[in-house]
Subunit: 449 residues, 2 copies
Amino acid sequence: MKRIWCEWAWLGGARLEPGVLLELEGERIASVGAAVTAPAGALALPGYTLPGLANAHSHAFQRAFRGRAEGAGGDSFWSWRELMYEAAGRLDPDRYRALARATFGEMALAGVTAVGEFHYVHHDRGGRTYADPNEIGKAVVEAAAAAGIRITLIDTCYLRGAAGESLGEVQRRFADRDAEAWAQRVEELAGWEGLGAGARLGAAIHSVRAVDREAAATVAAFAAARELPLHAHVSEQPRENEECLAEYGLTPTALLAEAGALGERFTAVHATHLSDDDRRLLGEAGACCCLCPTTERALADGIGAAAALRAAGASLAVGSDSQAVIDLFEEARAIELDERLASGERGRHSAAELAAAATVDGHAAIGWPQAGAIAPGRLADLVNLGADGVRLAGAEGASALDAIVFAATAPDVANVVVGAELVVGDGAHTRFDVAAELGAAIAALGSAP
Amino acid sequence: MKRIWCEWAWLGGARLEPGVLLELEGERIASVGAAVTAPAGALALPGYTLPGLANAHSHAFQRAFRGRAEGAGGDSFWSWRELMYEAAGRLDPDRYRALARATFGEMALAGVTAVGEFHYVHHDRGGRTYADPNEIGKAVVEAAAAAGIRITLIDTCYLRGAAGESLGEVQRRFADRDAEAWAQRVEELAGWEGLGAGARLGAAIHSVRAVDREAAATVAAFAAARELPLHAHVSEQPRENEECLAEYGLTPTALLAEAGALGERFTAVHATHLSDDDRRLLGEAGACCCLCPTTERALADGIGAAAALRAAGASLAVGSDSQAVIDLFEEARAIELDERLASGERGRHSAAELAAAATVDGHAAIGWPQAGAIAPGRLADLVNLGADGVRLAGAEGASALDAIVFAATAPDVANVVVGAELVVGDGAHTRFDVAAELGAAIAALGSAP
């Protein structure tokens, strides 16, 4: 593939450009020009083309219990977490690889070209280390390669159940002995030849619940020394704040700031229950906040003050997180829509700002600053939506961005290009039957490992 | 079509039944039996089959400005309303018929088999009466018939801009001279031969803003005498409550109760900003509350206390309302998901309760008690979802209802049966190209009428 012609392309800003011709060099866009019609030999993308979407916060294995954790009867985030642990307990490296490959395939179909996999199921049952201590992490990276999308394996430090609370049975699979052991394991992973063009490494402090102050500082220093993206779940639930205040007299954000975690490579995931001071800290650091609105709805987390975060100086990204649904258009518009519910006001985030969260800013947050925009020098990662479906019917070419952000859904994705390779064509994955593999991978989890 | 075989069918309750065979008599289900495989000659519906969905609150013409009213810059419900008036001003009967037919076609593709069209654009520009005073209403009914779905034309009384406020330019198209003139016009419509098997009549008080106390009583008496469903927009915005309290010293619900509107045939649309007393009134009356969550998100209305409404005795229905999206799965799950955001609790509404809102209770609310369930004597109106797509992959037959309600989207609809006729087959409308007609109908509105 040397040339791609887009009937309409979003190059940033409020409007789409007609007739955009991309000349490629290897995986990259060499030049962006104009052409009224598709030249011979070019891949022609009718409809609307955007930079590929960045899914900046994912737990791939949680796809296995979509539709299995919605029971009525007054449950909570915390009872949901028990169900999640049960699913995590049934995983082994091969099952994980198969499930992640199918889940990343579903992401590709939804237009995701890079995923930030917040990975914490490191070890075998009982916390036993595999012969290769990074066996599952490597399986996850291989799964993304097999599904044709880029990945940042955000290797997550997890050490305790909560302040003063020992690890539960399943949580032992998540935990390294201490932060130094975590760093040693990740150091090994960093030298793995499986990382490279399509896969990068990131680091994470699972949360201030699961990682104490000193350990958080160790992880932050490790990430800083290697210039890795550093992520953490931050203030997803009020109880996390209460426990952190009780333990340290600090909010989770303030604690992470003290630990040296905040900065331009830092991403606070959720950032739901923040104080004004928290937002100021994140904004002044130039950090990113990754909202996962469909999961925050599903887990009854609440509505974060996203406009205030942007006003404070933070950027925004989006993630499918629990995989309750995999649809970054829904995530992006939900930033604005849920804030409308909370505020009674409309128009806090423009379609262009929401699209930037799902593309350029999300890619930056997971360590792919070369992706996320249709511009010379950027990676040729693209998502193309048909203009001939019912949801976008009536949208007008140049001004279709509002309709795309506020009405498109994953099934409107027609074609996906990753590094000049067509990974999704005419709405189908070019490599494998994603639905069949999802069904098989999830069915396999029904039996004891 | 004499027999329909469903691989899995939802007959009510928490689980789906395998191998369900429906024997039909005309438009109705004569019997519901069991069959492991599809008998010869039966229409075979693989995957999951539910009763057809009832879209209990729709303004078809608002489909024309999907993606055109999302501008940033601190706007509100009230500025959105000005944009809506602009669109309404460009309509004429032929344009309306074409736009409604295409919009109802999109609804059919989303599994809607009956729509409650809350219709208030009655007259020509300047409020001039058409030669047939019900010309647009009849066009809307014909549009539903052309799109293959049932309709209840909920003819809406609209008399004033607000308390003490005269009608705006476009609002004059909505208004009859007074409630008696409204009743006279609807009386004529009731005798029209176009109503019948697929089309019924309902009545509506637009809102306590647009209809004063005495007029509301006239409309309520008219609806009661003819046993029509009676709908009203109720407490969508705090300002509506404030104005009603200022005018009457009563909440909108209390005012409607005084006017004799409440009862089992009454549906309060939105019911967002209610008091405990309001909920008690609605519950004791056995009324329905039609929530339109995607519109309530889009218009920054807020989150209604749906579980408290059910606890008080009201039933729930859902509507696509502004057509920001047309997806009743999204509406149904949003009742629970948005309440999770507001409450911090999960599991206030089970999947079965949410599915009932979108089917049996929604149909009852718009005057189709014969539809909305797969049972002997009911209309053979069905929606069938493929089990082979990525969103429902991994769901297990009998226990798939959670996945359907919480993860399915309109594009998962494979087949739709209305009165034993296949209206949607393999995801395509069997009568016309819906997207093309939507595009043409919306483009036509771009020029002056």
